[in-house]
């Protein structure tokens, strides 16, 4: 990546931390009409409010990989489904049906009615 692009990205990231309004609850940015299935390896699981976060490394057919960021239910909902902060760990296999961003970027929402406790598959 060119240094200019890096600088812009850094600037955007900084901007997001300082002047933006951190927000939640809108699902309008996700294409709920066209869900997709992804499978990969959990890199991070943040059991946090207002929405838990998965970072999943997804391998592409050309051998490269991309980190997908998924926004999911709050701990208050998942705790009552038997999910804990340790249910998903780095290195676990992950599969799920998600609603991707309209933009095509590697982000989406993962709100199954019930978290599948057979997922993750621990290695």
């Amino acid at each position: 990546m060119a240094s200019g692009s890096s600088a812009v990205l850094t600037g955007l990231a900084l901007l997001s931390m300082t002047s933006g309004v951190i927000a939640h609850h809108s699902f309008a940015m996700f294409d709920t009409a066209h869900p997709i299935e992804i499978s990969g390896v959990v890199k991070e699981f943040r059991y946090a409010n207002p929405h838990s976060v998965w970072v999943v490394e997804v391998k592409r057919s050309d051998g490269t990989s991309k980190d997908w960021v998924l926004e999911g239910p709050a701990p208050g909902i998942m705790a009552r489904q038997g999910v804990t902060a340790n249910t998903f760990r780095p290195g676990d296999a992950f599969r799920g049906t998600i609603s991707p961003l309209h933009s095509g970027e590697p982000g989406g929402s993962y709100f199954p009615p019930q978290i599948d406790l057979s997922n993750p598959i621990r290695k």
Binding site: S3, H24, S26
Partner: protein
């Protein structure tokens, strides 16, 4: 001193002495309805009227002016915006929306105050049941100022109904996440009537009537909750972790490196005019 004066003096003395003694008597919870415990809504999430579909399906009796505001909000959401839902920015739901119970609520009844502790957003309702009036100089708040009255409706010596009135509410508030608005004047009055199911003490009803100038008539809904016999308690701090970012009128998502990603195709980046441009 005449006998009449003596009797009158003694009666007055007994009243003066017995009043503080009564106030010091232990709180007898057996005289109160068994509301204590953790309660969760019955039915779908995030709906003011649990019996109706979300959004326009709620059939809120909005005035034409506020129906237009609601429709504009729905149009914004359809385009990818956040609409008018203030909770997207972690503002408290406030009343009456807090009673939608996204997550469970714990009730704790004390002699002069009954507390509603909502897990979602850490909201707290304090219901004053000591007979006080509404204050005249209290700053408004999202949960409002609530007074309540315990009622023994069937005369069996045990209270079975809690009536609550809530005023002095702060804006912005909506009835639900779809953005059904309340009036900007903040003059909302919420009246509630809570009682247990006669056959099942693990079912709690709350009949809520909202009086608001955005409505053509008071809006009454009946909410049903079930008691959690094995409650768990989870903290819900909204500001903890968030991937969605709103800058100006645009909404972005953070990637795994916490950099902004566009949420929709051809979305413009944020305006960086106040930042130094990178030197090539």
């Amino acid at each position: 001193m005449s006998l009449r004066c003596t009797v009158g003096f003694m009666a007055t003395a007994i009243v003066l002495i017995s009043a503080p003694v009564a106030a010091q008597q232990p709180f007898d919870e057996s005289k109160y309805a068994a509301f204590e415990g953790q309660w969760m809504r019955v039915g779908p999430i995030a709906r003011y009227d649990q019996t109706k579909p979300p959004g326009g399906g709620q059939e809120a009796p909005l005035t034409p002016e506020y129906n237009a505001i609601f429709e504009a909000n729905l149009a914004d959401v359809a385009k990818g915006g956040f609409g008018d839902d203030p909770v997207y920015a972690c503002i408290l739901e406030g009343m009456p929306r807090a009673m939608n119970l996204i997550l469970p609520m714990e009730i704790i009844a004390k002699r002069n105050t009954t507390y509603f502790l909502m897990e979602y957003l850490g909201m707290l309702r304090r219901i004053h049941t000591d007979g006080r009036s509404f204050p005249t100089d209290e700053p408004p708040s999202w949960m409002g100022y609530s007074t309540g009255k315990w009622i023994d409706e069937d005369g069996d010596g045990r209270y079975d109904v809690l009536e609550i009135e809530t005023r002095n509410l702060k804006n912005p508030r909506t009835f639900d996440a779809s953005g059904i608005p309340l009036h900007r004047d903040g003059q909302t009055i919420v009246k509630e009537r809570l009682y247990l199911d006669k056959a099942d003490p693990d079912i709690l009803y709350n009949q809520i009537t909202t009086y608001d100038h955005a409505l053509t008539q008071p809006w009454t809904v009946l909410k049903t909750m079930h008691r959690e016999r094995n409650p768990i308690f989870v903290e819900a701090v909204c500001a903890e972790e968030n991937l969605q970012v709103n800058i100006g009128n645009e909404h972005y998502m953070l990637n795994s490196s916490r950099e902004l990603m566009p949420a929709r195709k051809d979305q413009p980046p944020p305006d960086l005019k106040h930042f130094n441009r990178p030197k090539n």
